[in-house]
């Protein structure tokens, strides 16, 4: 009788270079999620707002300014690419603790122009980029892919197949930014950004927001919302453990493995029980390494897994049916809740042409960080009631 549920969830379609404010974007998603639950802003006991790039700018309070200043506690979170999922998890913990009955978790980001990320200026004026390797996100995740290649012989073509698959999935998602097939030849011939990731193997910088209303079991029953509720079976968060190379290359592998182990344990399920997965495909190379990190296949088998089609729509374990970050776009703070929205669509049987038949269990994973900044990983397991 102490389970926690999502009773309303939605996202705005991600867009490039919006001319509205971050508060308006967040407010839009908040109102959509409230409407999905049939609730109003006065029903909320707290707001957990994830935003990375304006972490010092009280984004949660500004969202409340847009949707109703009820004076509830507002907690603003920033945690690399796990920012939105961290907001969701803090909201989950607050309800689980019994402190609040109904809270809103929101993720919102306005990315601006230019998409390489990283490489912030130094106070002494020294420009590290190109002199001390690269601090761009594409380079960082390319190195992760090349590490997989040296261990297991994974090929450029196998990495490229991830983009072919996810863009194919996006043709079934009206909310994806890019809804276009990209054949293998096109992906491989696209502009090389950072070998082996071409432009079509990089996620897109967009503005976006997604929100979820979270409630206690008692409240869900009182409101009569159990028929559309989704149970949170696991909510886990990790930071990077010590690895001998972590001053030279940010760890995204151990941080995910540790998080996945905890998530499977607390949910009491294994990777074989999952009906679908939304994982952090910020770059095509990332999806490959995370197949193994999440236990969807054995170590060294990720290249074969993408080749087999088992992670594509209709396959044994479909991954990133939404089109993933490669097609939807990746508004950092919003991503962690947007992938929960994709799971919720399937668990409710509302995913349209990409629906996984009889979907019962889904896993959502986000993982990010940066050179010299360590990493964060959040994993949620959601279950159809």
């Amino acid at each position: 009788m102490n389970d926690i549920y999502i009773i309303g969830i939605d996202m705005i379609p991600f867009r490039r270079n919006t001319d509205c404010t971050v508060a308006q974007l967040g407010g839009e998603a908040a109102l959509l999620a409230l409407a999905d639950a049939g609730l109003a802003v006065h029903d909320l006991h707290a707001l957990y707002c994830g935003n990375l790039l304006q972490a010092s700018a009280s984004v949660g309070q500004r969202v409340m300014h847009e949707i109703g200043e009820t004076g509830i506690p507002v907690v603003n979170t920033a945690n690399a690419c796990a920012t939105g999922a961290t907001a969701f998890r803090e909201a989950y913990i607050a309800v689980k603790s019994g402190l609040y009955d109904v809270v809103l978790a929101l993720g919102v980001e306005q990315m601006g122009r230019g998409g390489l990320l990283g490489g912030g200026g130094r106070r002494d004026g020294f420009v590290e980029e190109g002199v001390i390797g690269s601090g761009t996100a594409p380079a960082m995740f390319a190195q992760i892919g090349m590490e997989h290649q040296r261990k297991y012989g994974t090929t450029f073509e196998q990495f490229a197949r991830v983009a072919v698959k996810n863009h194919h999935h996006a043709t079934f998602n009206p909310k994806a930014l890019i809804q276009r097939e990209t054949p293998l030849e096109e992906v491989m011939a696209a502009e090389m950004i950072s070998y082996p990731n071409t432009k079509l193997m990089c996620s897109i910088s967009v503005d976006g927001a997604a929100a979820a209303v979270i409630a206690s079991e008692k409240t869900v029953r009182k409101l009569g919302l159990m028929s559309r509720a989704i149970r949170v079976r696991a909510s886990e968060l990790t930071s990077n453990p010590y690895t001998p190379r972590n001053d030279a290359i940010t760890d995204f592998n151990m941080v995910t493995r540790n998080c996945a182990g905890r998530a499977y344990e607390s949910a009491g399920v294994g990777p074989g029980d999952l009906d679908l997965v939304e994982l952090h495909d910020c770059f095509a190379t990332a999806e490959i390494v995370h197949y193994e990190n999440l236990g969807l296949c054995g170590d060294g088998e990720a290249g074969c897994l993408i080749d087999s089609g088992e992670t594509a729509i209709g396959g044994r374990i479909p991954v990133n049916l939404s089109g993933g970050l490669l097609s939807k776009g990746h508004p950092l703070g919003a991503t962690g809740i947007a992938n929960l929205y994709e799971l919720a669509l399937h668990l409710r049987g509302k995913a349209g042409r990409r629906q996984v038949a009889q979907a019962r269990l889904g896993l959502a994973h986000v993982c990010g960080g940066g050179p010299g900044m360590g990493s964060s990983c959040a994993i949620h397991v959601l279950e159809k009631v």
Binding site: E128, V131, I132, S134, M146, R150, S194, R245, D247, A248
Partner: protein, 145 residues
């Protein structure tokens, strides 16, 4: 490396200068768990002990662990370049730019031996000092620097 006319400043804290002005790479070694890592920390990143870590000089030879060939970077940054991760002999891994190697995956074998070199980056601080950085270059049998 140092001369009477050029004053250098380290581009990264792990680059230290000896009393002759010669650069070296500083790391820490933990006598409790054996961890070796570049730079300085308050406690061992691996075991958390504070009393068992001490500064150490990192090796200037190592092997190419992973890399990428960067073809698009920030405006004004010359491309392509090889952004490399190198495991140093005796422990410690550092990232940096690999010079004097073709930016071609076929020419960058796994565990390629490299050496660390220190060079003027061409960038200067407000006092006009030259930023000195470490770089990697392929280590070949013929090369005796």
């Amino acid at each position: 490396m140092a001369s009477a006319t050029i004053e250098f400043v380290a581009a990264r804290p792990l680059i230290q200068f000896d009393h002759h002005g010669n650069p070296w790479l500083q790391g820490m070694r933990c006598s409790n768990c054996g961890a070796v890592f570049p730079g300085q920390r308050l406690a061992c990143g691996s075991c958390g002990r504070r009393d068992t870590i001490a500064a150490t000089r990192l090796a200037e030879r190592g092997k190419l662990y992973t890399y990428t060939i960067v073809r698009r970077s920030f405006p004004g940054v010359a491309v392509p370049f090889v952004a490399a991760v190198v495991d140093l002999e005796g422990g410690g891994s550092i990232n940096g730019t690999l010079l004097e190697a073709e930016p071609d995956p076929a020419k960058l074998p796994v565990d390629m031996p490299v050496k660390v070199v220190f060079r003027d980056t061409g960038q200067r601080d407000k006092e006009g000092r030259h930023f000195l950085s470490h770089f990697f270059v392929p280590l070949t049998e013929q090369r005796h620097e």
